[in-house]
Assembly symmetry: C2
DNA sequence: TATTGACCTTACCATCATGGGAAGGTCAAG
DNA sequence: CTTGACCTTCCCATGATGGTAAGGTCAATA
């Protein structure tokens, strides 16, 4: 199938499929006589694998590692688990950061009258915290 | 004071101070005869205002709006509150997304033996979910 | 058969906020 | 007068994605 169909079937834009190829994340697709990329069912499975990894927030670098492990029938599941755990830790750190921001901002917003007057604890907090 | 001192005092890199100037977020600093940027205490307060906004996760666009409101003595606190609330909603949405990823990944990681064998529910989930 | 419209190709530019580095000018202390 | 710390502008890179432009291909239809 051509790249458009592969894009629809995998949920990855044609643009990104070409980009993944250019960065070496995926091997170059075979080409028709006229230069059109051609994708097999196996290629499609790989693209879906990538999309699911992205949906779980893995970076391209991590997805590259996971793809290698996927292809390696002799892999140790410990290696996969290590990458996943590392990613979970990273996600949790980001969540904590965001939650701290929300906590601070919520307090300030609650204390703000939100009317026509200029006095505002949010602005004050930004002025000197 | 010069840009290096302003950078240390505000916690914003000299690089970013120049960038903020180039994008119009802040007005161009005055210059010495030899072209060095010069910063007053007022400038410093503005830079600190920006850094605190960044610490709270506001985008540059939002910080621009907040700066305008800060300078506007006739501002309505409702405008500030609206921006803050909007940002809180955005942060909460991002938190929910990340939490969903963590939930899925944690389940998978827990089910993964993490040993020398290749069988791995994480890889399986990426294969076909 | 000629045209049309949907598809494909590459190549370049933009995002957002930030850092790195090069090439060169300025300043103050020794 | 030299040295080292600072400053200037300019260009490039990031990560993952989208946009657009200029041009080639393909299949169906008039």
């Amino acid at each position: 199938m051509n790249i458009g169909e592969a894009s629809k079937a995998s949920g990855i834009s044609a643009k990104m499929i070409r980009y993944y190829e250019s960065t070496g994340l995926i091997t170059a697709a075979s080409r028709s006589a006229s230069g059109y990329r051609h994708y097999t069912e196996d290629d499609l499975n790989m693209l879906r694998f990538i999309r699911r990894g992205r949906d779980l927030g893995f970076s391209m670098a991590h997805i590259g590692e996971l793809l290698n492990l996927w292809r390696d029938q002799q892999r140790a599941s410990a290696d996969v688990k290590r990458i996943a755990r590392q990613h979970i830790d990273d996600l949790n750190q980001r969540i904590r950061n965001l939650q701290e921001m929300v906590a601070t901002l919520s307090q300030l917003a609650q204390a703000c009258h939100g009317d026509n007057r200029p006095n505002c604890p949010i602005i004050e907090a930004l002025e000197h915290s």
